[in-house]
Symmetry: C2
Subunit: 418 residues, 2 copies
């Protein structure tokens, strides 16, 4: 069997499994999730042994310490996966819930009901724990899942998937509900992207180049989890203490994640008071500043920013700063250079606040808070498969509900159309 046939077989098996999954009760699904957690725990040594193979190849291939760290399945990370499975087991199951119900004058009753999407493909990079987390969320929502991880984590991914399959099977999980593509050949991704008959959705998780490649190649619908070029705008009517605190948090609390601030915009009439102290705070925290002319004048440590800086997702301790004329200029900057992820205004003025909330075209828009809150858990969704930067189907943090679609159930007593 060549790779294409092999992947198509995986797709057909997933489609068949998705029919079986639609029949599982919530109670049964939860028992399966608990059994998967137990089995991961039982196979801890084996999983770490397989993980060691990946780490050894990684060291040999000269992976960076950061990459090797992401790859490593420490005890704490395995505990995290196990806890994740048990947490998903106790979350509400959206499948089967009624979104709304109404009656028509002819007596038809229409129920709009949440149902699984069907078969979901997850294409991801180095972190092997995604195998567990993504599979758990797809399974809880009765979707079959096809996982395709990076080649540097292949042994770890296979070991995790095998443990989940074994634990699940003991409690009656359909055998092909969770499948991991065992080959690291890039051809496999291409076949997945063309498998419109079997796959209903692809979610790529990883760096920009992976997401771009999948989006351009795919005939299957894709929900992108793209970069976060997040802004904080300090308005003329801002509480400056709040502005310093929020800017520091948004930039420094965890700079390597998508909801961290990359660009700070400051109203021109408060630049003289706001920027010098901001410069001190950021310099103390080790942040490199790149700014426009005014910024460079007011902050000694600042370097001149280029046009490219406004487009940059640094993911590290670098901050671009620009002085703007007013809230409209801030909105225009964000809509031009941003990535539609998360953007905040700090202001006490209702007019500026309302314009910002209405016109900034991003998944999450904030007033007087740090952009770092854009996250399924922080929003109270319980779990997240990622943060969509697309506008269709799901936008912003994607939880269990976003892994479902709906159907219309129409109940009649013999009605025909006149």
């Amino acid at each position: 069997m060549d790779i294409k046939e092999h992947i198509l077989k995986i797709g057909a098996d997933a489609k068949a499994a998705s029919r079986e999954l639609a029949r599982l009760s919530t109670r049964k699904k939860n028992a399966i999730l608990e059994a998967m957690a137990d089995e991961l725990d039982a196979q801890r040594a084996l999983i770490q042994q397989e993980n060691e193979k990946d780490l050894a190849s990684g060291r040999e291939a000269g992976l960076s310490p950061a990459m090797l760290d992401r790859l490593e399945l420490t005890d704490a990370r395995i505990d995290g996966m196990i806890k994740g499975l048990r947490d998903v087991a106790v979350l509400n199951d959206p499948v089967g819930s009624e979104i709304s119900t109404w009656n028509r004058p002819n007596g038809l009753e229409i129920r709009k009901i949440r149902v699984p999407i069907g078969v979901i493909g997850i294409i991801f990079e180095s972190r092997p724990n995604v195998t567990c987390d993504a599979a758990a969320l797809c399974f809880k929502t009765s979707n079959a899942v096809i996982l395709r991880g990076g080649k540097e984590a292949i042994h770890s991914n296979l070991a995790i998937a095998a443990a989940m399959q074994k634990g699940g099977a003991e409690k009656g999980m359909p055998a092909k509900a969770i499948q991991l593509i065992p080959t690291t050949d890039r051809e496999a991704v291409k076949v997945m992207c063309q498998m419109t008959g079997y796959l209903d959705l692809i979610i790529p998780r990883g760096g920009e180049s992976l997401i771009k490649a999948v989006t351009e190649m795919s005939h299957v619908p894709v929900i992108k989890h793209y970069k976060g070029i997040c802004h904080t705008y300090i308005d003329i009517a801002a509480d400056l203490d709040m502005g310093w605190r929020i800017a520091e948090n948004a930039k420094c609390q965890r700079p390597g994640v998508c909801n961290a601030m990359e660009t700070l915009l400051v109203h021109k009439d408060i630049a003289e008071t706001f920027l010098p102290r901001l410069g001190e705070i950021m310099t103390e925290r080790g942040v490199e500043i790149r700014g426009d002319e005014t910024v460079c004048r007011l902050i000694a440590e600042a370097k001149p920013a280029t046009e490219d800086d406004w487009y940059e997702e640094y993911l590290e301790l670098i901050l671009a700063i620009r002085v703007v004329n007013d809230v409209d200029a801030a909105i225009a900057h964000i809509n031009q250079y941003g990535s539609g992820h998360s953007d905040a205004i700090v202001t006490g003025d209702d007019k500026a606040r309302n314009a910002f909330l209405a016109e900034v075209d991003s998944s999450s828009v904030y007033v007087n808070a740090s952009t770092r809150f854009t996250d399924g858990a922080e929003f109270g969704m319980g779990a997240e498969i990622g943060i969509s930067t697309d506008k269709l189907h799901a936008r912003g943090p994607m939880g269990l509900e976003e892994l479902t679609t709906y159907k219309f159930v129409v109940l009649g007593k013999g009605q025909i159309r006149e």
Copy 2:
């Protein structure tokens, strides 16, 4: 300016207009829709004159009478467009409505709010009234729209769009809110499909080949309005009188539309009683029957069906009939050969009904009613832009709500993440 530049300019203008549209109040949008209706009425003669040019070219090109009929803008059809605009004006505006609101323990208030999608491309075929209907729904939901009609209706489409633009502009509609691509060059569609920076969604409306071509070419998300291979399954526990009535209605009331029945499935234990009378009814109505062996034995007029018949969307007075062993076989047939559109079961048995509703993977599943009800107006949605056969974002009849997305508005008092 070459075609590509021209289309990209249209895209950039639409994107800019979408920002302005986000600021219009519902009251203002409704006044604009009324003004567009008035202007269509005022320009009736001009529109019909332009329509006559298309009809003349169509006759010359040898279009079928059915095609010419679809193309013609009779007085009644212009009345229909005008009424459509006024109807959309009185519908509820979903933009700005709150889907839900909640508070987090840290005091953050999160509001999930409906917002426009942005810029929508509609690619359609012969009927010029789509220009008006689709533009009205996109405008009401504050989306900018780029329309691309078929070459056979180009003069009609341009005249309708010009009237809407003129009427709308008088009441303050942004000039580029509604744009019709003035060239019929096929290159224009290709450029639209690659315009990911400007277009948020493409909705192709027309035949299978158009939808396939757009889907395969597009890097912009597409919501397909694909074919309807709709089934009615007559269960062993069916009220046979109801079965005959529903089957006749689903097949004959308007056979040329996507929610008409194409295949009838009959439980083997009632075939002997159900099929002969069904054969009489269908023959009286001029329906050609293609069936399996049992069907051909029980209905004299039936011709043998081939495997291809189960995949066929006839859109005319032809009906495929198959005898099945039980409800599970009916479900398996529908999931294999159907198009995920609309499927019905006629039964008095709760177990069969529940299995059918849960396992048939279609946008609309019916118990004891005709599939002909799958329609925005019949479902009580007020208007529809089409019927999605996709599962993401919108499934089944798409009304105004489905032309919106959402954003999270997060209101704080200085919260930062610990």
